[in-house]
Symmetry: D2
Subunit: 486 residues, 4 copies
C-alpha cells in the first residue's frame, strides 16, 4: 500500500521545492509533482523534511552509580513526537570490557523497546589487544564510530597514547573517532579544590569545568587525529574555545567535525546560579552551559559550516536521581534532556530569526550527520530509494514546552517555558506514521530497527590517501657519509 505526502514544500540540505513524496513500503520511491497513491498525508502549509537524527543520546545508561531514566522506549517515542526518527546511542563496555558483548547487550536492551531506528557509537575506555581486535568486530556489526572520553578520570577517561592507538586503528578500519573533549585531569583537580573550599552546590559544577578545559582537550584530540591521519568528530561543543580549535584545524584542511547541542545554543550558565537547588542540578551536564557570549560563536559555526551537527546528549536523570549530589556537586548525575525539543527549538531560534535557512536546519538536524556517519542518503535525505523517515513540519503549531506536555519519562524539562513556533504534524518512520499531532498517537515499542553503518566514508578515504602520499621519506645516504658508530 502506497502513501503520498501531499502538498508540502520539501526541504533537503541542498534545496526547497514544492513536491509530493511517494512512499512504497518503507521506502521513498518518487519525489515530484502530482503524485498518486493509496493514501494521502496532508502537508499543505508545511515543510516535508527528513526525519531528525539525534547522534548523541544515552538511554538507560549506567552512569555515576545510577542509570539514566529515559528508556529506549520513552526516548525513541519522545524523539518521534519531536520529529526525530533515529537516535545514535552510546554503547559502553560492561565489566568484561568486551566490545562485542556490549553491542549485544545494547541490542538486548533496545530491540524490544525502540519505536524508531537506532544506531550506536562504541565507547573505547581503555586499550589492549582485545579492544584492538574487537574494534573490527564492531565495524562488522555496523558500528563505525568510536567514542573517547578525555574526562571522567578514574572511570571512562583514556590517555593520549591510548587515543593515538585507537585513532590509528580507526583509520585502518575506516571508522570515525569521536571525543568528549574536556581535560579530565584538570576537572578532577578543580573538583577537589572547590570541594575543599566548601563549594558543594551545582554552580561549582560550572566552575570545575571552564571552557578553557574543553578547548584544551579539543585541541589535543585534533592533534592526535592529525597525527593518526583520521577525521575526528568532537561531541557536545559548548564554547568558543573548542570551536576555535576546530576552526583552526579546519582552516589547515584537517577534517574535524563539531557538534553543538541545542542546549548550548539557547541556554546559559546563569541556570546554575538559580536559587533553587533542583532547578540548577537538573541542568548539570558536562560540559556545562556557558555564558551567553559562546552562543553567538556556535550559531555562527552552523552558519559558516565550521560546526555541522546539532545534537542533544540526551541523558535524562530524574530530580530524585539528581539529588544524589545534594551535598556534593560531583555526585549529581550528569545529563539533561532535549531529544524531543531539538528540532522545535532550533527552528524557533534558528530559522524564525533568519540565522539559518530551512536547508541549513535540515543539514544540522539530519543530513550532515548522516553523511559523516556514512548512512546518507538512506537516512537524512528525501530522495528516491531513501528510507521513508520523514517529518511533515508545521511552522504554525506553537507550544510552550513543559514537563506536563512532553513525552519524555522525565519529571522536568530544561526547556520549560520556552515558546516554540513549529512542531511535527506527522512523523513517519520507514513509511509508517508513528506520530500525528493532535491525534492519539501511541508508542509502538519494538518496531524500530538497528541501522548498521558501513566504514570508509569518502572523507576518511581521501584523508588517508593524502596522508599516505605525504608520509615521511627516508634520506638515502652514501655509506661513506655514515659513521661507523661506536
Amino acid at each position: 500500500m502506497s502513501k503520498v505526502i501531499k502538498g508540502g514544500t520539501v526541504v533537503t540540505a541542498d534545496r526547497e521545492w514544492k513536491a509530493d513524496v511517494l512512499i512504497e513500503g518503507e521506502t521513498i520511491t518518487q519525489v515530484g509533482a502530482d503524485l498518486k497513491g493509496d493514501e494521502y498525508i496532508d502537508a499543505e502549509g508545511a515543510y516535508v523534511i527528513p526525519g531528525g537524527i539525534d547522534p548523541h543520546t544515552h538511554l538507560e545508561m549506567p552512569f555515576m552509580g545510577t542509570t539514566a531514566a529515559e528508556t529506549f522506549e520513552t526516548g525513541t517515542w519522545a524523539a518521534a513526537a519531536g520529529g526525530t526518527t533515529m537516535l545514535i546511542d552510546f554503547c559502553l563496555p560492561g565489566e568484561d570490557g568486551s566490545i562485542k558483548n556490549a553491542i549485544n547487550e545494547w541490542h538486548r536492551k533496545s530491540a524490544p523497546q525502540i519505536c524508531a531506528d537506532i544506531g550506536y557509537h562504541m565507547a573505547i575506555t581503555g586499550w589492549n589487544e582485545n579492544i584492538f581486535d574487537e574494534m573490527k568486530v564492531a565495524v562488522d556489526m555496523g558500528v563505525n564510530s568510536f567514542k573517547h572520553f578525555m574526562a571522567y578520570k578514574g572511570a571512562l577517561m583514556v590517555e593520549d597514547d591510548e587515543m593515538f592507538a585507537s585513532f590509528q586503528r580507526c583509520r585502518e578500519l575506516g571508522a570515525l573517532p569521536m571525543v568528549h573533549a574536556e581535560n579530565g585531569d584538570l576537572v578532577d583537580l578543580m573538583q577537589k579544590k572547590l570541594l575543599a573550599d566548601g563549594m558543594t552546590g551545582p554552580e561549582a559544577h560550572a566552575y570545575s569545568r571552564p571552557p578553557e578545559f574543553e578547548g584544551e582537550a579539543a585541541n589535543r584530540a585534533i592533534t592526535i587525529a592529525d597525527a593518526a591521519g583520521t577525521p575526528l568528530y568532537i561531541v557536545h561543543v559548548s564554547c568558543e574555545q573548542s570551536h576555535e580549535a576546530i576552526r583552526r584545524a579546519r582552516q589547515k584542511g584537517m577534517r574535524i567535525y563539531g557538534e553543538p547541542l541545542i542546549q548550548f545554543l539557547t541556554l546559559d550558565e546563569s541556570e546554575y546560579f538559580n536559587k533553587d537547588w533542583d532547578h540548577a542540578a537538573r541542568r548539570v551536564m558536562s560540559p556545562p552551559f556557558r555564558n551567553k557570549d559562546h552562543q553567538a560563536s556556535l550559531w555562527a559555526g552552523l552558519q559558516s559550516g565550521s560546526l555541522q551537527v546539532v545534537a542533544t546528549d540526551h541523558a535524562a536523570f530524574s530530580t530524585e536521581q539528581k539529588r544524589l549530589g545534594v551535598d556534593d556537586f560531583t555526585k549529581i548525575p550528569n545529563g539533561s534532556n532535549g531529544v524531543e525539543e531539538r528540532l522545535a527549538v532550533l527552528w524557533t531560534e534558528g530559522v524564525e530569526t533568519g540565522r539559518l535557512t530551512p536547508s541549513e536546519f535540515v543539514a544540522a538536524t539530519s543530513s550532515n550527520v548522516a553523511k559523516i556517519l556514512n548512512i546518507y542518503p538512506k537516512k537524512g535525505a528525501i530522495v528516491e530509494g531513501a528510507d521513508a523517515d520523514i517529518v511533515v513540519w508545521d511552522p504554525k503549531i506553537t507550544k510552550t514546552i513543559s514537563a506536563s506536555n512532553h513525552h519524555s519519562i522525565l519529571d522536568y524539562n530544561v526547556f520549560d517555558g520556552f515558546e516554540v513556533k513549529a512542531q511535527s504534524r506527522y512523523t513517519l518512520s520507514r513509511g509508517e506514521v508513528i506520530w500525528a499531532w493532535g491525534q492519539n498517537s501511541q508508542p509502538q515499542p519494538g518496531r524500530g530497527r538497528f541501522v548498521p553503518r558501513p566504514p570508509f566514508s569518502s572523507a576518511a578515504k581521501a584523508l588517508s590517501h593524502w596522508k599516505a602520499l605525504n608520509s615521511p621519506r627516508s634520506i638515502t645516504r652514501d655509506p661513506m657519509n655514515i659513521p661507523a658508530g661506536i
Copy 2:
C-alpha cells in the same frame, strides 16, 4: 528519443553511487539502476557528474584598449571539451552606461555563437538613478548578480559609497553583489612608483598588486555588505589575506562566498620572473599569481568550506595582444586562460592527491555556484527534473596540456606541460552529446541558451530577515528629559 548514461558512478555534491541516468529531451528524468532508453552512453569505469559551471569568464571583452581574443564560440567550445557546460560571463555597460542595453548587446554577441549555456553577471561601474532603476530591469532579465570593481582606477572602479548604495539595492532586489577586491588607489600609485623607478617588466605587475591590497579590499567589501545586509561573493580569491578576511567574516556568521581560481591553486608568482618576457606576460592577470604559500590556504578553504567555488576568470589575450605592454607592464592586457583546463587540473591536484573527495570536486566545479546563483538544481545537479548537463568523467584518460591540443583560440596555454590524469569522455548539454573524446566532435555555435536566474536565494532571504530583526531601535525619551534645544 531517450538516452541512458550507463554503468557509471554518479557523483553529486552530496554523494557517489552506481547508477544509470535516463535523459528525455533536455532533462534528466530518472536516476537509478538498470535504466533503459533508446540510446546508451557508456560510462563504465567513469564518473557521471554535473556539467561544470565556470562562473567567471570574459569572452570578447573590450578591455584595456583591445578585446579579449576568446570568442563566445571558442570559449564555450573549449569549455565543453573540458567538461564545462555553462559559463557565467561578465557583462559590461557600454558608452551609454545602460545596463539594459549592455545585456542586450551581450545577447547579440553571444546568442549566435554559444555552444552551451550561458548566464551573465552585470558590472556596476558607477552610480546614478538610472543604474538604480536598471538593476531591477537586469533582475527581470534574469541577471541576479552585480559585479563591482574595487580596482582599475579611472576605468571600472567604484567608490565605497557607490558600493554601499548598490549593495543596498541588491538587498532590495534579492540580487547578489560581487567584488573584484583590490585597492585600486594603491595599485594605481604603486604602478606609477614602479614605472618611475624604471621597472617596466611583467614582474612589476606582481609587485604592484601585493596580496595585502587584495586582503584590504576584501575586508572593506565585506564591511560594506554587512552594513547593507546582503551576502557577498568575492571573485578570484588569490591569497591568504583575502581568504583570512572571508574566514573572519564567516566565523561571525556573515554570508560571504569566495572563489579561488584554478590558476591560483596550482601556479605561482615565479612565472613572472621567467627570463622570457612572453612567458611572463602571458600570465599577467589581476590579481596576479602569488607565492606557493598561498596555495595551501586556498586548498584548505575548499576542504573546510570557507571557499566554495573554483573558477577561471578566463580572459584570453593573444601573445600579440600581450605585447601591447612590452614597454610598460601596466599596458599588458590582464587575463589568462583556464576554461578548458579547470576540471582536469582540479581533479589531478585535488582528487588524485586526496585533498578533495569526488563530491567536493563536484561541489566546487558546479553545485555550489549553482546554489549561490540560485539556479540549483536546474544546473549543478544530477536529479530528476534537472537539465541534462552531464559529464562522463574518465579518470583514466591522461593528457599533457599544450596549446597544440587545446580548443581555445589562444596561441599559448598557461598550464602548458601540466599532466592531467582525467578528462571528459562525453560532455552533454541539455541532453545532447556536444563533446566525445577521441571522436571528431565539432562546435555547434548557436545551440547554447541564456539561462535566466531568479533573485532571492534562501541565504539572501534569511540574512535580510535577521538584519531586519536586529536593526537599530530608537530610545523613547520623556519630553521632560529632552532639552529645548538652542
Copy 3:
C-alpha cells in the same frame, strides 16, 4: 635650589624600587637612596612616577560649528590636577590650509595659557604640493606626527591615495602618521539612513558608527602604511575589530601602535540609551563607546602589548553646545572629557584589580608614548637628565568623580560617580610643584612650554631599512627574450 622627592617608591616602565629623586632646576639629577637637597617633597607611602602624557587632546578646537570649551589653561590645569604634565594637542589647518600658519596659530593660542608642557600633532586634511613641502616645515618646527581623518566626510576626511602620499612623505621625513580610523563614507551614509528613518537621538550616533566601520578603516590604514613603509599610530581604538586588525598586523612584524581611551576601557554604549537626552549626548564622541565585550579586548591589549597607550581624546563641549544636536544627532559636537581622570581611573580599574602592574600603568600613561613620539627619556622617565615632570601618586586618596570637584571647565563629567582609589599628591612640571593635593594650588598660565620632537625614531629607521632591503627587484632579461613590441 634643589628639591628631593623623599621616601617614595619610584615606578618606571621597567621597574619599581625605593628611591629618592633629586631635582635641580628643571631636571632630574639623581635617583637613589638618601638624597639630600634644599627642599623635600614627601613621598612616604606613595609612588613616584613620570608625569602623565596625554597624547590626544583637542583644546579650543574649532569643530562642528563651535569651539571646544576646554581652554589651554583649564585643560592643562585639569590635567596637572590629575597627574598629567604634558598634552599633545591636535593642530588643524585654518582656512588657508597652511601647516606652518596653523602651528603658529596654535602657539599663539596655547603659549599664554598652558600650565604645563605641550606638543602638537599636525592634521593632514587634504593633499597638494604645498602640504608636501610644509610637512618638512612642521618637522623642523618640532612636530613629528601627522594625523589623518578617515571619517568626517566633507570636512576633515582624506582619501586613500592622499593617505598613501602623506605616509610616504612621513617615511621620508622620519615622521609618524596617525589615523582616526572609521570609514567616513559608510558613516555618512548610515547617518543619512538613520535620519531618514526618523532616528534623531544620541543612540543613533552609536548605530551610525558600528565597530565594523572602525575595524575596516584601521585595516585599510595599516595596509597603506605597510605599502608606504612606515610605522602607524591608530588613535582612539575602541573595539575588538580595530584591535584585531592591529594584532594581525603586528603578528606579521608590522610596526603598528594602538591607543585605547580611558573612556573605552571603562564606559559602554548603554550610556547612549539613557533616558535623559543630556546624559546621552554628553557621551557622544567618535568612535562611540562600545558594548562591554570590547573592554576585555582592550585591557588584554594593554597587558599583552598589542595596545600601548591610554589617552583621552579630551574634547570638551558644554551641555549647551551638545544641545546643538537636539533635533539631529549628527549635529551634537563630538567629544568627551578625561584629561583629569585618566590616571586615577586607569589605576583603579587596572592596577587595583591586578590587570596591570604599576610599571605597565606607567608605560601606558607616559613612557610608551614618549618613546613612540621620540621624546623619551626627556619625558616619560625618571632618570638622570630627564625633565622633572613627576607625580607623587598616592594610592590612598580616594575620590568620587563629579563635575563639582573637577578642574575642567566642563559643566558635567562622563565619569561622574566613579570612585577612584588613588590621586596625585603632588604634580611637578619641570621641577616645579604645580599641584598639591589638599592645598590651594592655582593654575599658572603661560609657564608651560612647547616641546619639539625630533623625527626618525629607532622603529622608523629600522622599518625603513628593512623595506629598502626588501624592495622590488627587476628581472634582467636577454633582449633576445623580449619581443619587439607592436
Copy 4:
C-alpha cells in the same frame, strides 16, 4: 680602582644615547657625559650594552646515557667571548630526587669552573610531598623558576595533574613555571612507528616531533597555568603552532612568555636532510629545526612582543657522542650549540636587516629575561647600581663562524660558515674585562658567582591578585530551596 667605558653609544632596552659608563668595583656608578676614572675602556664607534643573559643552557648535563660535553668552564668562557655574561642553567634532580641536593650538586660542579655569573632553573620531574616542600627550599636558595618537561616520556616527563600541582605551588611561592612543550606520548609513539618503518636516520628525528606536537603541549601548559593562576614561560619556541598558542593566550590577557632560540630563527629543517649523517646528527635537538616558514613567525614575535627572549638551549654533545645514535635516531643525544654565537647572529640577522632596533636586540638578549626572572636591573641594565656586566659591542668586526675559531669545547659548530657582522670588543663581568677581542684573553674559572633570584615578580603578583578577585563564588540558597537529599 674605577673604570670608564668611553665614547660609546649606550643601548638599553628603552633607548640609545651617547654616554660614558663609570664602574667602581663590580658596579655601575654613573652613566653620563665626560666621565672620568682610573682606567679607560675604548668604546668609540661601538655600542655599550648589558652583558647577554642566556637563560637556557645545559652544561655538563647527564642526559640520554652520556653527559653534555660543554663544561661550566668552557661554556661560560665561550659565552663571554660572544658577549654573554650570565647563563641560567637547568638543574636536574639526581637519583634521590631531592631538589636541595641537586642545587648543591650544581653548585659543586659549577662554582670552581664558571668564568662569569650563573643561575639555575630547577627541573620538576615528578610530584610528591617532598618536592612540594623542597620547592620552597629552592626559592630560598635563590632559584625562582621551575622547569617541567612535557616530553621525554619515561624519563623527565610529567603529567598534567603533576604540572597543575606544581604550578599551583609556584603561584604560592611566587616562582615562575616553565615548560618544555612537546606532547611526550605522541613523540614516543611516533618514534616507535618510524623505527618500525625502518626509518633510523636523523631526518626521522624531525618527523617524530612535528610542530603540531609542540603547539599542542604549549596550549595545554597555558591552560594549566591559567587554571593555577600563574604566569608561564615556554622555553625553546620553534614554530608558529606554539607561537600561535602563546599569542592567543596573551590576547586574552594571560601572562605567557615565549623563548625562541637563535637556532630556530636562522636555521631550518633541511639540515636534517643533509647527505652527511654527522652533519644532520649534530643538529639533532628537541624541538627540531623547522621549515623556513616558521622563522618569519618567530621574528615577528620578537618585533611585536609576543615573544620576549632569545636563548640557545646550549647542550653540546661531541660528534662522537652524537654517533651513539648511528643506528637509531632516538639515541642521538639531543642538543646543539649557540652560547657564543647568539648575540652575533641575532645582530646580523636582526639589527643589520632592520628587523629589530638595537634596543629590541638588547631586550631580547638580556633585559627581558632579567625582568621575567626578577633580577632586573641588577642584570640586564646599564644604570647606576647595576652589576657592571657590560659588553662593548663592535658593529665592524666581522667573522666567519667555525669550529676552528670558536671557544666552545665542541668539535663542530651548527652555525659553521655563517658570516657575522658584529662581535664583542670587550666583555665585562662585574667590572672586570674578561674578554678583549684580538687580545690574548684567557678563561678565569671560579671567578663567576651564583646569582640568587627573589620570587614574586610584579607580573606574578598582579596576576595572582586578579585571580583572587575573580575566583568562584558560592550561590547562597535558602534551605527551603535545597532538597533533603536521598
